[in-house]
Structures are given as C-alpha cells and as structure tokens.
C-alpha cells in the first residue's frame, strides 16, 4: 500500500518537474507584466524562512489609461464593494475614482454632486470640492460611501448607486481632547458607528455616531518603554520628570472592519508594542496569535538600522484571513484567523508588480487590490493555484466544512510540501472531526504545539475511556493491597502488644509471688 503511494508520488513529482521545466521561461518576468510571478516564503517554527510559491500573482494593472484622460497621481486608499466595484482615493488629484472588477472606468469625481446630478452646496453655499482626501470606506449596510476629506477636515457621505451627496460630517462640537479633526482613514461598523483615524493622534481612534456626534476615543495602543528609560524615570525628581520627553501612546495608522464586525487596525509606529489590532468593544486587542510566529511580518531584519515590517494597511476577508501591507520591504503578509502566517511575497523596485511606497490594500473576492502612492498604478493580484487552495482551505475551515477544507489543504501540500500552515490546517480539520490520532500526526508535522496539545487531550480522554475497566481493576487492586497491608500491620502490632502485655503480666505475677 505504502509502496504504491510512494511510486505514485514519484510520478507526481516527475510530472511537476516536467511542468516546471516547460514553464520556466514563462515564469520569468513577462514584458507586458501580465504574469508577474512573485517569490513567496513563510517562516517555520524555528524561524527559518522557507521558500515556496507565492499565493498571488499580478493579474492586471489599472493606470491613467483606463481613466479616459483623467490624471492619476497617487492613490492613498482603495476599497471594494460587494458588487465588484473598486473605489480609490487619489490624494494628489483630490479625486475619487471608481472602476469595475475588470479595471474598466466607471466614475470619477472631484466636485460632489447631488443625486439628480446638480452641483451640491454646503450650508454656507459653497461648492463641495474634495481637498487632498486620504480615505474611503464602503458601508454596505446603508449603501453609503464615506470619504475622509482630509484637507477640508470633514467626512463626505455619498450614495453608492448614484454617487449623490447624502450628508457632510464636520468636526463635532463636543469633541474633547487635543486631537484635531483631520480624518485620514475611516471605517463604519454594523451599528453605523463611524471610526476615524487621525494620523499622529495619541488619543486613539475617534468614534462618532451615525449623525456625526462625538462618542469617544476608542482603542488602546500601548507604547513600549525601554528598561533604561524606566530606570532613569524611576530615580528622577518631579522637576526632572517635567523636562523629560513624554511617552505618548502610538497612533493608529489604518483601520478596517472584519467579517464579524470587529475593528481591525494597524500601526507602524516603532514604539508600539503591538502592530496589528483586532479591537473588541472595550477597545482591547483580541487578535489571535496562535501561530508559530507573532503577527509582526518579517521576524528578521537585516542590518542594524533597518526597522522591522511597517504595516500601512490591512484587509480582512469574511473568513478572518487578513493581508498586511508592509512599506519597509514592499511585502504583503497573509495571516489566517488564528494568526498563522500563510505567505509573504512582494518587493520594492522598479519592475511592474513591485512597489515604491505601498499605501493601501483591499480584498475583492479572493483577489487583492493594492495601491501605491508614488507609482501611478493600481495592481490587481489574483491567487495562484497554491494561493487558491490555501484560501479555500481556510475559508472552508472557518465555515465548518471540514471535508472540503481537507481537500484544499492537501492540494496546497502537493504544491508545497514544506508548508507548515497546511499541515496544521489539515490537523485542525481532523481535530474538529474528532479524529485525534490523525490530527496529532499532522500537528506534529506542522509543528503546532498548541493544537497538538488539544488533540492529545482528546486522544488521552478516549484512551482512558477505552481502558476504563483495566484501569479500574488496577486501581481497586492497589487500594486492596494498601488496605490489606495496613490490616496485616495492625494485626501484627496488636499481637505483639498482646504478647508484650502477657510477658509483663507474667513478670508482675512472678514478682508478686
């Protein structure tokens, strides 16, 4: 049986090898950029970078050519809607451009109009012109487009169908704290609350009601304090402390909403102790980090001066798999709901498919839309066969289709046998099917100790249940042996005591005589 499998595998390997050789010239950079193939990698349990196929490849680029002559200068935010439209914010041209999922031009605006295509006026009678906007968010529930009109310090809300003005949210009067109302990125949750990121605000994310009233600051971003600073502060006098530089909480830099309605945020402030956040209603970070690495992107950085990964944007699928966009190395990192790193790919450079200053990322189904604020391009990335298998596996697992998830993960393993996340994914599905022994095998292959322990717990429970009678008999025998020896000991000591008493009595008697 095993031998047969082996020969089959060899055949498969030969087939792949042949396919690889045949495809080798095509795998190199194609001049039209249509099939740019990234180099992917993951980290294994021991922190070694393991090369493997990338999960995504470049499908197409959107450039000014697709815009019918409207200039495209620097895209700072992209967002997609469920019906497949791509909304992008061009900060330099102060425009919102809309494309369909094939990258065809749909709409572009700088001057906001009403639903019946008349020029809209604000309360002072001025035209509503976007000025250096930085963020856009699609609120599917109310069919609204939220634009962070950063230069004008306001939020403009449009209708998703006809792009007509619905309302304008200006700086709330009740706003407390020192944060200036300069909305940069935003998200709207399922309860219609608006979350606004103000760059370099150390008070947290601004939370507004649907009507634009100030509701509070949200989210905890704790700074890291170095031991040396802590020491000097602890011995400094009050006057000295006043002169010292204050440690402020790091700012959040980008924000999005996940499938369950949680706010997810990223920061690239080097003093922050966490970089990726999944915020609960109290504003605490409840991001799962059960993988073999923490959710920090690259775990090694070359050279003393280089910083680690700096995430400028995050995009989440309905099934909790998220992509992080790193501006240090121009990489895209993918993590699943449990915080296991799925893949990393991408680089900085001048070739098509590479980045200069990546700014924003969004999911469009299983595709990724990535923008760059210096390059005048938007990239649409489509999953490779490997990426498709991994994404499907994670989706099926998240929604509880264990058998289908197994098929997908096995496909991924056939394409990359070094892939710990797939072993661990297979293990999780077997764990859910209560097949503990198989699950243990795969968790061991995937070096996933947390889940191995869970599977072993189940296995041990079953074993104890199955051997209950033997264990019980052994236990009863043990108790019997202990009790028996105890009784024997007492009998013996009583006999001895009796004998001693007799001896004493007889001695007494003799003495009395």
């Amino acid at each position: 049986m095993r031998k047969k499998n082996g020969s089959k595998r060899i055949k498969w390997c030969a087939a792949f090898l042949a396919a690889g050789l045949a495809l080798a010239p095509a795998q190199a950079q194609a001049s039209d950029g249509s099939s740019y193939v990234y180099n992917g990698y993951t980290y294994d349990f021991y922190g070694n970078a393991k090369e493997g196929p990338a999960m995504f490849q470049l499908e197409r680029t959107i450039s000014a050519e697709n815009l019918n002559g409207i200039p495209l200068s620097g895209v700072n935010d992209v967002c997609t809607s469920e019906d497949g439209r791509i909304f992008m914010i061009d900060t330099i041209e102060s425009r919102m451009n809309v494309f369909d999922s094939n990258g065809e031009y749909v709409y572009s605006t700088k001057l906001i109009r009403t639903a019946d295509n008349k020029i809209a006026l604000d309360e002072n009678g001025n035209q509503i012109m976007l000025s250096a906007p930085e963020g856009v968010f699609i609120h599917e529930k109310q069919q609204e487009i939220y634009i962070a009109d950063t230069g004008n310090k306001r939020i403009v809300v449009l209708d998703m169908e006809n792009y007509g003005l619905l309302r304008i949210i200006n700086a709330p009067e009740e706003l407390i704290g020192v944060t200036d109302f300069v909305p940069s990125k935003l998200a709207v949750d399922l309860a219609d609350r608006i979350y606004v990121v103000v760059q370099s605000s150390y008070e947290g994310i601004l939370e507004l009601t649907r009507e634009g009233e100030f509701a509070g600051y949200y989210g905890v971003n704790t700074p890291m304090v170095s031991l040396v600073d802590y020491f000097w502060k602890s011995i400094a006098s009050d006057e000295q402390k006043q002169k010292m530089a204050k440690t402020y909480a790091p700012a959040f830099n980008n924000i999005t909403l996940d499938g369950e309605g949680f706010i997810m945020a990223v920061t690239y402030d080097s003093s922050a102790s966490d970089m990726v956040f999944r915020l609960n209603s109290k504003g605490e970070n409840v991001l799962r980090e059960e993988g073999n690495t923490f959710v920090v992107g690259d775990i090694w950085s070359m050279g003393s001066s280089s910083t680690g990964s700096q995430f400028v944007d995050i995009a989440v699928t309905d099934y909790g798999t998220y992509a992080l966009l790193d501006r240090t190395k121009g990489r895209i990192f993918l993590y699943n709901f449990d915080g296991e790193m799925l893949n990393a790919f991408g680089s900085l450079g001048n070739l098509k498919g590479e980045f200069k200053t990546p700014s924003s990322i969004a999911w469009m189904g299983n595709k990724l839309v990535v923008s760059d604020s210096v390059l005048k391009y938007i990239y649409i990335l489509t999953p490779t066969a490997f990426g498709q298998a991994v994404l499907e596996g994670n989706e099926k697992y998240y929604f509880g289709d264990w058998d289908e998830a197994l098929v997908s993960f096995e496909q991924a393993l056939a394409l990359n046998a070094n892939y710990e996340a797939a072993y661990s994914g297979i293990g999780k599905n077997y764990l859910m099917k209560d097949d503990y022994e198989t699950a243990m095998y795969y968790f061991k292959m995937g070096n996933n100790r947390v889940f191995y322990s869970k599977a072993y717990n189940g296995y041990r429970g079953e074993w104890l249940e199955g051997h209950f009678i033997i264990i019980m008999i052994l236990f009863v025998l043990l108790v019997a042996a202990v009790v028996g020896s105890e009784i024997r000991y007492h009998k013996q000591s009583r006999r001895k005591a009796k004998a001693a008493m007799k001896l004493r009595n007889s001695r007494k008697g003799r003495a009395e005589e």
Partner: protein, 209 residues
C-alpha cells in the same frame, strides 16, 4: 565487591538527603568513589541527549532534524569538567582543602537529584497537555534547586569554607573558566596558524624542487 558497591551507593543516597554529613564522610573517611562520580557525569551527559530527543512534543521545542548528540554530550560533560578544573585552580589559591577528586565527587554526586527529575520529565512529558506542563516544570525546578544546594553544601564541606566564601569561590570559578576557555581558543588558533605555515612552506619547497 558487592559490599563495596553497596557502601558507595549508600553514601550517594546519604549525600542526597544529608549533604553536609555525607560529604564530610566522603571527604575525610574515604566513603566516596571517583569511578562512581565519573559514571554519574557520563550518565548525565547521555540523559541530556535523551531528553533533547525524547521529551514529549508538547514541551520539546528542539529541532530534532538538527540534533547532534556528540555535541550535546560533550557540551554538558566538558562543561562540568571545566567547572571542576577551574574550581580546583581557584580554591587552591584560596586555601581550599579539597583536592581535584573531592571536587569531582561533590559535583557529580550533586547531579543525582537533577538526573532523577530529568528522567521524570522525559517520561511524564509524553503524557501531558500544555496546561499540565507547569507541573513538570515545577518538579524539574525542584530537582535543579536541590542539586544546586547539594553542590553548595558539598563545596562548603570539602574546602572547609563558610557559605559566603563558597559563593565568592564559585563566582571566581566562572572567571577562571572564562580565562581557561580564552587560553584554549588562543592556543588552538596559534597552533592552526603554525600548522598552516609549515604546510605552506612544505608546499613551496615541493614546487621548487
């Protein structure tokens, strides 16, 4: 022979439970045994290899594919040999009464509790889940503390030191160990350069012939 072994093992057990008295007997009445001490040291090295590989998966973070049992064994055993030698060199200067054999006996005998808890750790860790790992760690920790205590007590007794002086001697031992290592590395690098020099002179010579 049997009686001899029995006596040695009896004093090993006594050293575990009554370190001050037993190490006194070992030092001044010849109850200890250098071969037994060497066996314990070697056993400890082997056990470290075993624990590297066979500790249960839940708490075993080692990369088994990169395991090198010779290197693990030598690291542990030579580490202790280095400790013994440098302790002897330090205490000779500090009026310590113990000789090299005594230090070897004390060091090796002190490893006994650690050996026991290590065996327990390797065995038990195969039957635990992550939440129970703490129990195993605590027991291993008790063994380590016990061993350290035995070592301190033994060194106090054989060198006829007070507690404070023993601590200072141990601190100096590490300094001495660092110096020995430095000299060793220096020695080997110089020898290597000399060998390379001789070889190249030889090669030159051969080519000109």
């Amino acid at each position: 022979m049997k009686a001899y072994l029995k006596e040695k093992l009896y004093y090993l057990k006594a050293a575990v439970f009554h370190p001050f008295d037993a190490f006194y007997e070992i030092r001044f009445r010849g109850r200890g045994s250098v071969p037994l001490a060497a066996v314990i040291l070697v056993l400890f090295g082997i056990l470290q290899c075993v624990s590297y590989q066979y500790t249960g998966f839940v708490i075993n973070l080692n990369d088994l594919a990169a395991m090198n049992s010779v290197s693990i064994f030598l690291t542990w055993v030579l580490g202790f040999v280095l400790f013994i030698v440098s302790n002897w060199s330090v205490t000779t200067l500090l009026n310590g009464k113990g000789n090299l054999g005594d230090i070897l006996k004390v060091t090796a005998y002190s490893l006994t509790p650690m050996i026991c808890t290590l065996v327990f750790q390797v065995f038990a860790s195969n039957f635990i889940i992550a939440e129970e790992a703490m129990i195993v760690y605590v027991i291993t920790g008790v063994g380590t503390v016990w061993s350290l205590f035995m070592l301190l007590a033994g060194l106090c007794v054989i060198h006829e030191y007070g507690f404070g002086k023993t601590l200072i001697a141990i601190l100096l031992t590490f300094v001495a160990a660092a110096i020995i290592m430095f000299l060793g590395i220096l020695f080997f690098t110089l020898i290597e350069q000399m060998v390379v020099f001789i070889i190249s002179v030889g090669q030159e010579f051969m080519r000109r012939l």
